[in-house]
Each structure stands twice: as structure tokens, then as C-alpha cells.
């Protein structure tokens, strides 16, 4: 979500006004905040929970909580940052809950098979996807999802917030209820674990691509 400083400031000002009006009793003013931030909240929730259903549930719950706690926000600077923190916290709760449910069911998680332009197939193949390369791509995606799922809630939160959402280390520390040093270490640990799990698959994909190009 690249934004210029001017547009970010304009949005923050507009957010502050919407918050003020909501607190004054204009419930529809909250609609502006929901419509403006839903996409970002959904992206963070999806990256943290790993599935669409949970992410959508997190989004709804986050805005309900934000509305209920809006008076606590009144004196704070940035609604976007504040709502991000609520999202990360609630997503952690949802991940814990999901993990317990899965442990009970012991059933493989049915994952949505969304395809986008950034599909891993493009990483392992720069030409037409053959059935073999498609299988490799699907396998790599599965490995990445498993590697992310194997992280602790704190590691996944720290990695998502830092690597994908570009959040400041202080903000991450606030969500993890720790200090900056500890939050940094959590980011390092997450990347190290992901590397250990995924590097063999990534290198295999790279080799396959090289061989495919050579052949």
C-alpha cells in the first residue's frame, strides 16, 4: 500500500474527523473508516491466519472492537495503525483458536485455491506451465504455507507485520507485548525458521528452471 506522505496525512486527518463524528453520535461516520481500511485489514488478517474465511471473520470482529473501543483511541494519532494493532491481536487469538480446532479434528485444512498473478508458478517457470512445473509450484506453495503455520504466533505476527506490512519494530513490540530487542529477535527467528524449511524447495525450483532453460 504505497502512499505519499501527503495522502497519508490527508487520510489520517480525514480519519480523525470521522472518529470525532462517530464519538459525537454519528454512527454513519464510522462507515467511512470501515470502507477505507477494510482491504488493508483483510490483507494483514489473511497473511496472519492463512485462510480467507478466518480473515473475513477477523475483519468484522476488528471493526466491531474498534467501534466499541473508539473512545480509547480518541487521543491517539493514527487510526490505521491502531486498527492494525487490533487486527494483529485478534488474528493471534483466531490462530490459537484455529490450531486447537485443527488439533481436535486432525483433518487436513481445506485451503482456498486462489490464483493470482503472483502465483509461485511464475517463480519456477518463465514459460508455459507444464504439468510437472505446476506440480512443483503447488508443492512449493504448500511448503510455504506449512512453514508459516509452523511458526509460533509471535514469530508469524512479527514476520507478517515487518516483512509484508512494513510495520515499525515498536509497533510489533506493542502487539507482542515485549520490547524492541525482543521483537527484533522474533523477526530474525521467524526468517531463520522459514529459511531452514523452504530453502531446499526454493533451490530445487531454481535448479528446475535452470535445467528447463538449458534444455
Amino acid at each position: 500500500m504505497p502512499q505519499s506522505v501527503e495522502s497519508a496525512n490527508a487520510i489520517a486527518d480525514s480519519d480523525a474527523l470521522a472518529v470525532e463524528r462517530t464519538l459525537a453520535g454519528d454512527r454513519d461516520a464510522f462507515r467511512v473508516l470501515v470502507e477505507r481500511h477494510s482491504q488493508n485489514v483483510f490483507r494483514l488478517a489473511y497473511r496472519m491466519t492463512g485462510n480467507r474465511h478466518d480473515a473475513e471473520e477477523v475483519v468484522q470482529e476488528v471493526f466491531l472492537r474498534a467501534y466499541q473501543k473508539l473512545r480509547q483511541f480518541a487521543s491517539r494519532a493514527n487510526f490505521g495503525t491502531w486498527v492494525y494493532r487490533i487486527t494483529a491481536n485478534y488474528a493471534i487469538d483466531r490462530m490459537r483458536q484455529r490450531r486447537k480446532e485443527e488439533a481436535r479434528r486432525e483433518a487436513p485444512r481445506a485451503e482456498g485455491q486462489e490464483k493470482t498473478e503472483s502465483d509461485p508458478v511464475n517463480l519456477v517457470h518463465d514459460g508455459k506451465p507444464t504439468p510437472e512445473r505446476l506440480t512443483q509450484s503447488i508443492e512449493l506453495r504448500k511448503q510455504m504455507q506449512q512453514a508459516l503455520a509452523a511458526l509460533s504466533h509471535a514469530e508469524r505476527t512479527a514476520f507478517v507485520m515487518r516483512h509484508w506490512e512494513g510495520c515499525g519494530i515498536e509497533e510489533i513490540a506493542a502487539v507482542l507485548k515485549s520490547n524492541s530487542g525482543s521483537a527484533k529477535n522474533t523477526v530474525f527467528r521467524a526468517v531463520q525458521k522459514l529459511r531452514r524449511s523452504l530453502q531446499p524447495f526454493v533451490e530445487r525450483g531454481t535448479q528446475a528452471r535452470v535445467m528447463g532453460t538449458e534444455s
Partner: protein, 263 residues
């Protein structure tokens, strides 16, 4: 040349290092560390390809439609709002009022306690006056009966005063108690009369159950010489008067109840 550690490379890649220029210089010169960084970046680049589904352009509107019916009319008040300066001042004022009310309550209660103490003392005095009055009445009656005692059979030479003797013994015990109490209360006049009565009661109590008319006459004279019956009557009258004067102050509870009943 020391190579860059994995942790330093991750920090470099994620923008979490304060040694950025030092590491950059090293990477420019060290192929091994550059290759290591590329391996880390390849993993992160692969992760970046993980798709995030597009919820649609109208997603925000849909979220609003889903949550709007569940929103309360107004955001709830939080305890944190009490930390705002204005509210803190109000909270301080309320606290001061509560403390003041508590203090006033204690002072007022002290007054109530004082009234209760006064009442208690009055009640105690009243009980003492009534009890001593009755004691004096019984003593007077016993002394009168003793003064009028005569032999049942004129032929008999001994007079049976055993009943008066026993009553005198009982009255003696009571008299000692009332005399001490009168002394403690600072009522010297009453204590003096009770002291004289005690001596008479003592004589009677220690007399034989049957006395000769001469012995009985000696007791009568002793009673008359001391003027004890007269003194007892005077004191009894005084006590009756005091009894009328002592009216216990109405208690706060009673008055409150009455006020409550009026409402």
C-alpha cells in the same frame, strides 16, 4: 575479514540494522556473503509470491453491511476516559467530597457517641437512684418492723427477730454495693447515709435470732439515736425527686424513625 552473520544479513534485508553502510561495504567486497544474502532473499521472494485473495472493490461496503446491525448506538464509554485531565479533576473533587463526607460522618458520629454516653450515664444514675430508693424503702420497712417487734407470747422473755435478721443480712450485701457505687459516683451525701445504715444493718444481722426485750430496746435506741429512719426517709424522698428529674435524652435512632414515619 569477518563475514556477516545470518542474523546481520536478515537484519540488513528487513531494515533492522544500524550497521547498514558497514554491511553494504562488506557485501560489495565479499562474494560469499553476497551469495548467502541471495539465498535468504530467494526464500523471502518465494514467500512474497504467496497470493492474497482480492476481496473485491466493494469489500468495505460489504463489511459495513455485515457489522452495522451489530453496532451499538454509541461507542461504549471506557474507564480510560476518566484519565482525561478534565475528568481527573472532577474525579478528584468527588473523591474530596467523599473524604469530607466521611470525616463529617465520623465527627457527627462522635457527637452521637457523646450523646449516647450522656444517655448511658443518665440511665445508669436513674437505675442507681431507683435501686437505692427501693433498697432504702426495704431497709426502712425492716427497721420499722424491728422497732415494733414484740414477743408473740407476753409470757415469753425472748423476741424472735430471725426474719429481720435474715433480711438485714441481705440488705447489708446490697447496701455495701450501693455505698461503693455512691462513692464512685461522687455522691458523698448518699454514701454517708448508706454508711450509717450499714452499721445498723450490721448490728441487726449479727444479732441473735432471739433477743431479750432489753437487747431489742438497745437496738431500737441505736436506730433512733442515729436518726437513721429519718435520714433514710429524707434520702428516699430526695431520690424520688431526682428520679423525676432524670429524663433520658431521646436517642437519634428514635428521632430518625419518627422522621421517617412522618414521611
Amino acid at each position: 575479514m569477518r563475514h556477516v552473520t545470518e542474523e546481520e544479513l536478515i537484519a540488513y534485508r528487513e531494515g533492522l540494522t544500524s550497521q547498514r553502510s558497514v554491511i553494504s561495504q562488506h557485501l560489495a567486497a565479499c562474494e560469499e556473503c553476497r551469495a548467502e544474502l541471495q539465498r535468504i532473499e530467494a526464500v523471502l521472494a518465494a514467500l512474497d509470491t504467496l497470493p492474497v485473495p482480492d476481496p473485491g472493490a466493494d469489500y468495505g461496503r460489504r463489511v459495513w453491511q455485515q457489522i452495522a446491525p451489530r453496532l451499538p448506538e454509541k461507542p461504549t464509554r471506557s474507564w480510560r476516559v476518566w484519565l482525561e485531565p478534565g475528568r481527573l479533576a472532577a474525579l478528584g473533587a468527588i473523591t474530596a467530597l467523599i473524604i469530607a463526607a466521611f470525616w463529617i460522618g465520623r465527627v457527627t458520629k462522635r457527637d452521637h457517641v457523646a450523646v449516647e454516653i450522656v444517655n448511658r450515664e443518665q440511665v445508669r444514675e436513674r437505675v442507681l437512684v431507683v435501686a437505692v430508693g427501693q433498697h432504702l424503702g426495704r431497709s426502712e420497712m425492716m427497721l420499722v418492723e424491728l422497732s415494733n417487734a414484740e414477743p408473740i407470747d407476753p409470757a415469753q422473755k425472748l423476741v424472735d427477730i430471725s426474719t429481720e435478721q435474715r433480711r438485714a443480712g441481705d440488705l447489708l450485701q446490697e447496701n455495701r454495693l450501693y455505698r461503693r457505687t455512691a462513692l464512685q459516683e461522687g455522691d458523698a451525701g448518699l454514701a454517708s447515709v448508706l454508711d450509717e445504715l450499714e452499721r445498723v444493718l450490721l448490728d441487726v444481722a449479727h444479732s441473735p435470732e432471739e433477743v431479750t426485750p432489753a437487747q431489742l430496746e438497745a437496738i431500737r435506741q441505736k436506730i433512733e439515736a442515729r436518726g437513721i429512719l429519718f435520714k433514710v426517709r429524707v434520702v428516699s424522698n430526695e431520690l424520688q425527686q431526682r428520679q423525676k428529674e432524670i429524663k433520658p435524652a431521646p436517642s437519634q435512632n428514635n428521632s430518625t424513625k419518627k422522621e421517617g414515619n412522618k414521611i
